[in-house]
């Protein structure tokens, strides 16, 4: 346990000192929230019965968590693999499980921080009310999503051949998903055929779970177990692929 804290402490240090990770993981989601909320203003999304700003808070939360887990892990782990860092760590007495737990723990903490930041920004700047009785649902959604997308991040490294290719591959996979899943554009504007495609993948279900928990019209605890089950299933698939294909040694 103390070894895990030791490892986590250094993972945190490295994260906050890396300008790229701070910008893309922390700043960019906040900038997106600001841009989308400013462009679409206080329009009402009739289909959902909420203001656009209320829609974007859970949407950007989903984006921020995916970014702090899957994207961040895929890029950083690939970089560390190609640098030979993973190989060297593997030669020390540090158990692989502690190494992995340190990285996942780092992603979980950043995810939690982002959910809090997006919630505060939404409340202060756009007057999006904070939930109360759905807080457990939000935390469960966060936990399930962050774990699932962390597994997906480890799995993604297997298809990324080099550190240069890492941002390109992850963005090529996730940017289209954000668009078709209603993260960037309200889903009322997206044709149903496209949404059906998005429903195959985990991003949309993750967003839906956050949305229900954030929607002021939600009565009750706001748990979306059906949506979360699909997210978890993708996480499980990621875990299986990661266990099978994750590599500690450089590919070059």
């Amino acid at each position: 346990m103390s070894l895990l804290l030791h490892q986590f402490r250094f993972d945190q240090k490295v994260f906050w000192r890396n300008p790229a990770s701070v910008f893309f993981t922390v700043m960019l989601p906040l900038i997106f929230l600001f841009i989308f909320a400013t462009i679409f203003g206080n329009d009402e999304i009739e289909e959902r019965g909420v203001k656009t700003t209320t829609y974007y808070v859970p949407a950007i939360m989903a984006l921020a968590v995916v970014s702090a887990t899957a994207v961040s892990l895929a890029i950083n782990l690939t970089e560390d693999r190609e640098r030979g860092l993973l190989k060297r760590v593997r030669g020390t007495p540090l158990p692989s499980s502690v190494f992995v737990a340190g990285r996942v723990g780092n992603s979980l903490v950043i995810s939690l921080l982002m959910v809090v930041l997006v919630a505060i920004l939404g409340r202060l700047v756009y007057g999006v009310s904070l939930p109360d009785q759905t807080i457990p649902a939000i935390l469960v959604t966060l936990a399930v999503g962050a774990f699932a997308f962390s597994c997906i991040g480890f799995a993604l490294t297997a298809i990324i051949p080099s550190e240069d290719a890492a941002p390109a591959v992850t963005n090529a996979l996730l940017l289209p998903l954000y668009f078709i899943s209603g993260v960037f554009i309200p889903d009322s504007e997206i044709p149903s055929g496209v949404l059906q495609v998005a429903d195959v993948f985990p991003v949309r279900h993750f967003f839906e779970a956050f949305f229900t928990a954030w929607d002021p019209n939600t009565s009750g605890a706001g748990f979306e177990f059906g949506q979360l089950a699909i997210v978890a299933a993708w996480g499980a698939l990621g875990l299986v692929l990661a266990l099978r294909f994750f590599r500690w040694e450089p590919r070059r």
């Binding site: 070894l3 030979g84 060297r88 007495p93």
Partner: protein
């Protein structure tokens, strides 16, 4: 009788059709600095990675610190340190932080500050690793390998790409391992490195050990008696030289170097020829063959 730290018998490794290592026997004793020499692609790194527990061999027996590295445990990893051939550092950490991070992985690490001093990075202790020169980064690699206070240290081409002064400094650090009582398994393709540092050396060519012994002896055993070299006198073409030297002279090369089995006779021939022609023999040199001569001879076969 010193205790064997590394023992290999009939070690083989093939990648599909390619046989990278073809039956190696070797033994490294406690406290020894052992140099493993060979040209690129000879099987050096494959062999060292089998010893480090990174690769599974396809044949033979290996024991490192009494354990088959294929079944390396955490306890075994506490006793082994290594510098990998290609490994960059985490650019976001300082030298001290990088060493502290690795210190945390070991049960009984060395003192962080003292280890940084040992590799001569005191002044850079609080600098980010991204600001270090190539030589300094490699020395930090050595510090990370040492921090767990290992009994056995693997150094895979630790000075490749260094400028001469960085190499000298790295040699001082590696030489100091002897004073710490460490066993060092050094992989290199620099002959002078082996000659300066190693107690014993083995040369691997195409997956087989072709020579083994004291680096100073390795040059003379079975090799030529002496090496005679001089600059080709002005206006002389290589074909005009007396027989053994005419063969040794390569077209376009200013220095003629002949590995001689009978240096007295060859020298007499050369001097008689020079006197008869009235030319001098600039930079004439007669020396014992170095490890490099033996190496070049062995690897060119």
């Amino acid at each position: 009788m010193a205790e064997a730290v590394i023992k290999a018998a009939g070690l083989r490794m093939s990648y599909g059709e390619l046989e990278a290592v073809r039956g190696i026997d070797l033994q490294v004793d406690a406290g020894e600095i052992f140099a493993f020499l060979g040209p690129n692609g000879a099987g050096k790194t494959t062999t060292v990675e089998i010893f480090e527990g990174y690769r599974r061999r396809t044949g033979g027996e290996v024991e490192v610190l009494g354990v088959d590295p294929q079944h390396a445990t955490r306890a075994w990893r506490q006793r082994v340190g290594f510098v990998l051939q290609e490994c960059r550092l985490t650019p976001e950490l300082t030298v001290r932080e990088a060493v502290e991070q690795y210190a945390g992985y070991y049960e009984a690490p060395r003192d962080v500050q003292q280890t940084i001093g040992l590799v001569g990075l005191d002044e850079k202790a609080d600098a980010r690793t991204s600001t270090l020169s190539g030589g300094q980064q490699r020395r930090l690699d050595v510090a990370l390998a040492l921090i767990g206070d290992p009994e056995l240290l693997f150094l895979d081409e630790p000075t490749t790409g260094f400028d001469p002064s960085a190499r000298r400094q790295a040699w001082d650090v590696i030489g100091s391992m002897r004073d710490l009582g460490k066993t060092v398994f050094l992989t290199t393709h620099y002959m002078d490195e082996a000659q300066v540092l190693a107690d014993r050396a083995a040369i691997i060519v195409a997956g087989e050990i072709v020579a083994e012994g004291d680096p100073a002896q390795l040059g003379s055993d079975g090799g030529p008696e002496a090496v005679i070299s001089f600059r080709l006198p002005k206006g002389t073409s290589p074909t005009e030289l007396p027989p053994p030297f005419a063969d040794a002279a390569k077209r376009g090369e200013a220095v003629v170097s002949h590995a001689s089995d009978d240096p007295l006779a060859d020298l007499r021939t050369l001097i008689d020829w020079a006197q008869a022609r009235g030319t001098g023999l600039p930079s004439l040199e007669v020396r014992r063959p170095s490890l490099e001569d033996a190496y070049l001879e062995l690897t060119s076969r």
